[in-house]
């Protein structure tokens, strides 16, 4: 071989080596089977509990597990909520899925249809069936199967600033739509230039859950329906839906609320007097509420004429990736996290949820063991609301339908569409999404 040709081949080999270095390592794709015996098992756990106050206690729980199981090593990864779905799906596509992930149950249908989740082993299934309420079991089920351990349970309630209500001469929190409007208008403070220095009721535009979950809670409390139970046909554009959205539009039109004072942070900072929000805000309120946590009032969702106060409930769950090479160890970890630490004791996750996050644990034994933590005024109201809670429907395209409704609601808030047109357009879009997913 001529020297020049040898050099040419070396250059090409170098180029291919560089390219190879950019590609995933062999075996980095979807893996199956069990880790070789005797080797240390490495598990990757992904959650959205990344803030310092949430990260440390969770890491402590995982450290406790590894000290009890020295053959296991845990790589704990966290991302923000808005990045969680992207992280899970892109990691899956890249063949580097975490072994265990904590996720929102609305994403479950797509995860299941994509073959992404491992079916829980029989002992895990038996544990979930025996120790969780039918509502929690249904929240983590799809296609007639349970897909993971239910963890945090969130409902919505009307939060209000006791001090502000007192100063405005409002003796009791609003219980009906009419009272909500009256109270919001009394609590709103206008600047001389017409802008609001304080919003009577805080809206949360731009965030699908922040718009749709409070709306659905009010809709159900007004006797309306979101989607039909079996067919999932949209029903939110009926008369009750229109009356509910009209309430918001009136609040904005009469300058009792302003979408530009639009994030839960405004309630925390005292720029808003009332807000419909989930219980996970408790940790933030305890740390930063402008008038002190003792001034946070919690009341049931106000009702429309003849309605019963109803709240939306949504759940999160821990699942195991079907491509994990350590499924058995992954399920052991998840089961340990969700099982009582001893006779009459709470599970590590129950302890974590109630101490760090302010969420309601789904496990019945956790609710009993941690009754003292769930008994302050704030948590008691939320726990009580679970009795009249309705689960967010879990269906394929659920996220997209929710966003379509959010966009319809916001179009009415900003006066781009009438209430009727906004809800009808959102319903038509929901019909299209349902048809595509059939």
């Amino acid at each position: 071989m001529k020297p020049s040709r040898t050099l040419f081949i070396l250059v090409v080999v170098f180029a291919l080596t560089m390219l190879n270095a950019c590609l995933p390592a062999p075996g980095a794709g979807l893996q199956e089977g069990v880790a070789p015996a005797g080797e240390k098992v490495k598990l990757t756990v992904l959650t959205h509990w990344g803030e310092e106050s949430l990260l440390k206690p969770m890491r402590a729980k995982l450290d406790e597990y590894t000290s009890l199981n020295p053959h296991v090593e845990i790589d704990y990864q966290t991302v923000t909520f808005d990045q969680l779905l992207t992280k899970i799906t892109t990691a899956r596509a890249a063949g580097i899925s975490p072994d265990v992930y904590h996720f929102y149950n609305l994403w479950m249908p797509d995860f299941v249809e994509g073959g992404m989740l491992d079916e829980p082993p029989s002992d895990v299934l038996a544990d979930i069936q025996a120790n969780y309420s039918p509502g929690s079991q249904s929240a983590v089920s799809y296609g007639g199967k349970i897909w993971g351990y239910p963890t945090e349970l969130n409902t919505y309630q009307l939060l209000y600033n006791k001090k502000m209500l007192q100063e405005a001469g409002i003796e009791a929190p609003p219980a009906t739509f009419a009272e909500l409007k009256d109270a919001a208008c009394k609590l709103a403070i206008a600047n001389p230039d017409g802008t609001l220095a304080r919003s009577g009721f805080v809206l949360m535009p731009g965030w699908d859950s922040g718009v749709v979950h409070p709306f659905l809670s009010l809709l159900w409390s007004n006797g309306g329906e979101y989607l039909a139970p079996e067919t999932y046909q949209p029903l939110f554009n009926g008369p009750q839906g229109q009356a509910t959205l009209q309430l918001y539009v009136d609040l904005i039109g009469e300058k009792c609320a302003d979408p530009s004072i639009g994030a839960f942070g405004n309630f925390v900072e005292g720029k808003g007097a009332m807000l419909i929000m989930a219980n996970w805000l408790r940790a933030t309120l305890k740390d930063a509420f402008v008038d002190g946590y003792e001034n946070v009032g919690v009341a049931p969702i106000p009702t429309g004429e003849g309605g019963v106060s109803t709240t939306l409930q949504y759940n999160w769950l821990y699942g195991v990736d079907s491509g994990s090479k350590n499924k058995e160890e992954a399920w052991k970890l998840v089961q340990w996290l969700n099982s009582p630490a001893g006779e009459g004791a709470a599970s590590p996750i129950g302890d974590y949820l109630t101490s760090a996050l302010g969420a309601i644990p789904s496990r019945i034994s956790d609710q009993q063991a941690l009754a003292d933590r769930l008994s302050d005024e704030f948590m008691t109201a939320y726990v009580r609301s679970a009795a009249n809670a309705r689960a967010e429907p879990v269906l394929r395209g659920g996220q997209e339908i929710k966003t379509a409704l959010q966009q319809g609601i916001e179009a009415a808030w900003y006066g781009q569409k009438t209430v009727e047109q906004a809800l009808n357009d959102a319903a038509a879009e929901a019909e299209r999404i349902l048809a595509e997913n059939r």
Partner: protein, 324 residues
Amino acid sequence: MASPQDRVFTTSPAQLASSAGPRKHRRRIDPKIWWAYAFISPVLIFLLVFSVVPIFFSFWVSLHSWNLITPIPEMPFVGVDNYTRILLYDDVFRRALVNTFVFAFWGVTFNLVLGLAGALLLNSRIRWRPLWSTFFFLPIVTAPLALGMMWTALLNKNFGLVNALLGSIGIPPQPFLSSPEQALGCIIFMAIYQYVGYYVVVFLAGLQGIPQDYYDAAAVDGANARQSFWYVTLPLLRPVMLFLVVTNTIGALQVFDLVFAATTGGAETSGGGPANSTMVVVLHMYNTAFKFFRMGRASAMAMVLFVVIFVITLVQLWLLRHRE
């Protein structure tokens, strides 16, 4: 005309072979050509894998329904359904397309005018020139996310500094980013603030490349300052303008980070508000792909945007070169 040496590197082996004519023996290819290909092969392979293949893959995915989770060989083929859906039924996509065009047109136009004015200012005998240069160029080195957050705070309807200043001179407060009518204008303003420094620098380089002789000759012919500008400066800056218009229009049509930063109030919000008034194509594409699991539809959006950018670029090149 290309030199023989140039031809070695600009003619492909296939062309050389075909140009050999009906000879009995194949002409031996110059080993230098193979060497050239060998040395550029790392870059070629990189481009192929990370640019060319993804474009074709994206087109292929746009003809399928894919949720990013299902294995690629199992993606259902849906033909042009994704294109039909986004072009005929997706109101948000159509809105995003219009917003993107508006953003690109006004953003590039204002930046061209202001960038040229800034360059003329810096090219004159102005005092404190380094200070002005810093003033123009500082925003370009700031992260768009940071700028977006800064302007969000300044333009807050109820608590922002800008409204406080407007109030002090008797102008009523404006809703700015919380108004569907004003929000896109605010985003365009932020883009102008951020990128005008880049235009200034490029225009300044162009201005300093114009020989003084032309101005001297124009002066001898009796041209005043305005005539020198119209008949000497502007024509000679046309290549610079062509470069700025084409590259920045392409960049503006792909805008994402600035809109995302200015319209997401927290980790929970998905941007493009209020009521989709600032939704742009790439942001909608991102939401469609990673929030709704619709990679096929998002890929169709990417292909439509690709075609739009391609056509606009060709038109710009034709217009600006045709007039030369």
